[in-house]
Symmetry: C2
Subunit: 460 residues, 2 copies
């Protein structure tokens, strides 16, 4: 099968990339209400692509927010069923002036495709569709049953997917969940991920005087909301990088010696990361390595802060308001609701006099961990090994895909996270891109995987 498959994929490559560009041109930013129609359009584009691939029962299913696109191929009688999850919504694109080419005008340079969503996650969703299409066209069948569940709200915390999955348990029933939305450990190192961090976050709104004041006339006599905000935020972390919100670490499952050893064995090059990011040094919770900090330890990050004058030069204002957005990455067994509550209590205890503080909770996601030795995980490793010709890494990841926990708890699905992005491809930042070498090898790996998975689950 190998040679023929690669030949077909090669012959279709130009056409595939043109189709991908069309998909990436749709500005499906889920966070911004003015892009609602674009998100809908991306869903309809997907439905059309799934039909063209030979999938059946294709539906654009409404939710309270953006729709879910469903499709299946269920003719592998007696064989396991795979549920493929992905998302077709993308992050906002500001600051726009830092993009070398416009975010929604895909551009191929140096064998990379540049566009918002190229890597996270439209590019990878597209690969899954093309893998199935290619197998159906070349083999006439798939070795396993496949269902697609593609959502449009991942970048805003999947507010409606829990309800959707709960209402469609029969439709979505499967033996394993496969997601391609996590990056490879590094270039040339295909990766299977067995754990994800969870997420919770909130916006802090500090209000002081009812209007902006002249800092000369009132400065020193009235609490400044920005001072109050920085005091609250600074109280949440100490100089050792530890989060000082009371109870924050109470439920954290410590790293086992086996996990620590496995991470050390990856011989991860921290100096390389430092150089790539161009920082004087890396920084994080004292006593942990970079991989431990970003895979297996919880964090609290300030994602945005704003208040007062931001223009050119000086304005001697004592502002009326100040705001910050913070998110935590959580690890087993931290509970997002409990952590959000602990942070709110911390804020109450650390609010300086003279201002009022309110919080707005963002959507949450639970942390998740799959057994390392699950056959679907090991089969993924074999597929990657064959496609890339190197041994894959088995990792945990720092990012959050809240719905993985949803699928686990509602449908009792083990999850295989097999992503093809690279860590420096600027997800969520200007100049997002995707290396086409992983588009090519990843497509091969995905085709192999369905055969490996059939064998692995048959042996159970």
């Amino acid at each position: 099968m190998n040679k023929q498959l690669k030949k077909v994929l090669q012959s279709k490559r130009d056409q595939h990339l043109e189709e991908l560009k069309a998909f990436l041109r749709i500005p499906s930013i889920s966070a911004l209400s003015e892009h609602k129609q674009d998100v809908q359009q991306a869903a309809e584009w997907l439905a059309q692509a799934l039909k063209q691939a030979g999938l059946e029962n294709v539906q654009v299913l409404p939710t309270q927010g953006h729709p879910v696109v469903y499709a299946d191929w269920l003719h592998a009688e007696g064989k396991p069923t795979v549920l493929i999850y992905g998302h077709y919504d993308v992050q906002p694109v500001d600051p726009l002036d830092l993009w070398e080419t416009p975010p929604f005008e895909p551009d191929i340079r140096d064998n990379k495709i540049y566009a918002r969503g190229a890597s996270d996650d439209k590019g990878q969703v597209f690969m899954h569709i093309k893998a199935v299409e290619t197998l159906l066209h070349t083999e006439g069948r798939l070795p396993v049953n496949i269902k697609f569940c593609l959502e449009g709200e991942e970048e805003i915390g999947s507010p409606n997917l829990d309800a959707f999955v709960a209402e469609h348990q029969e439709l979505l029933a499967a033996d394993v969940l496969v997601v391609s939305d996590t990056p490879m450990l590094e270039r040339g190192k295909p990766t299977v991920c067995y754990g994800l961090r969870g997420l919770c976050g909130l916006q802090i709104d500090v209000r002081g005087p009812k209007g902006d004041l002249h800092s000369g006339l009132f400065g020193g006599g009235v609490q400044n909301p920005i001072h109050a905000l920085v005091s609250i935020l600074d109280s949440m972390r100490n100089a050792q990088g530890q989060i000082t919100v009371q109870g924050f670490y109470d439920k954290v499952r410590p790293l086992t010696e086996e996990e620590k050893e496995a991470y050390r064995a990856l011989q991860f090059d921290e100096e390389q990361v430092r150089k790539e990011l161009d920082v004087p040094q890396l920084f994080g919770e004292a006593g942990y390595s970079f991989l431990e900090r970003t895979w297996a330890r919880p964090t609290l990050e300030i994602n945005g802060i704003y208040g007062g004058f931001q223009g050119e030069g000086i304005k001697t204002v004592l502002p009326s308001e100040a705001h910050a957005k913070i998110t935590c990455r959580l690890v087993p067994e931290q509970d997002p609701d409990e952590i959000a509550r602990l942070i709110q209590q911390h804020i109450e205890r650390h609010t300086p006099p003279g201002v009022t503080v309110t919080t707005q909770l963002f959507d949450k996601g639970k942390p998740f961990l799959t057994p390392f030795d699950h056959p679907a995980i090991q089969a993924a490793g074999r597929a990657l090994q064959q496609a890339y010709g190197v041994s894959p890494a088995f990792t945990r990841m720092g990012g959050s895909i809240p719905i993985v926990e949803t699928f686990h708890s509602l449908l009792n699905l083990p999850a295989v996270l097999m992503g093809f992005g690279l860590p420096n491809e600027n997800f969520h930042a200007p100049n997002e891109h995707f290396h086409l070498e992983n588009f090519d090898q990843g497509l091969v790996a995905l085709c192999y995987y369905w055969f490996e998975l059939e064998k692995a689950l048959d042996q159970q």
Copy 2:
């Protein structure tokens, strides 16, 4: 003279207000380069108004930045010469959506005129011109010689006025400086101010990773520039409202018992301020009253902060940069250059690992104090007493007019600060306005003052 003067002012009131509106319509925002032509237009408008008032030698004099408008009337032979200083530039207007009527479309409601610059300082500059015009038209002469020096860069720290005054010492030579750019203590309480705080400030620019990062993939392993910035800022003030920058208070001249007693005698209503500002409580340096904190104690205020995502909802970004603008109000004998240096040293000592921090200095102003018993100060009190019919307050003020110190050091001029704005007129904020009762009574007081000043300086 009194009755005739008031009658003339009354008869001209509508015309005066129409002229003032025309002046206020010019968006002379000195901080924003796109308004350069508007600032120039405001200077030319002033020159025309000064000529119309009967002043002579009217000139729009260029500087490296915005021009200075000069005019004089020097026919009171053997009499003292007054230099009137004011500024025709205004603050930026953001946030624009909080203005009830547009900032550059003056609107009179409830006997107040609403517009950017109505109170600070175009309205008061205009009053000085109309006072002189009225006296020249009714009396045919002025009791003292008068020179106008009106600048267009006060709101950006008067970067070119030092050089201008140094180069025009003969042109500007005088016996006393009169400035109307300070507010009255409260409504119905005309005020002569004998001291001003100085100013220094800087922008703090924190840079971390070379681009924005995904907080899931990198969060916990890379210093977050916003965390670093809030840590730096929070280290500058303690919970008692004291500034913790080493050496900050070293040169501060303590309040004398006489000054403390004089401030207590004003029976200032702090609860009224609290209510007007709508804050849960006032806050400032422990051990000082509101007046002491805002008149005679130095401050460090964060005027603006920004970094990361500011839009609607959540974006899980670990940003590349974060920024803050801070300014200090200084009291005798603090030196702005020294304080700026102390802050820079503090920042260097308190920069967390993993980021680089740079600072940009803003323009500075020295603090200033005039002897309370100077005859020009006391004459101002008498003029206000006659115009308003109540005893005036003699105060110090929290704001900065850096050029007062310039005129003092270069021209050896005592300064009389006799302003007609009210503290809640939203200078530097949306809905700036000016009470027309103080436009009317202030015009009378300014006319009286030149006679009182002639007598007072004659007796010396």
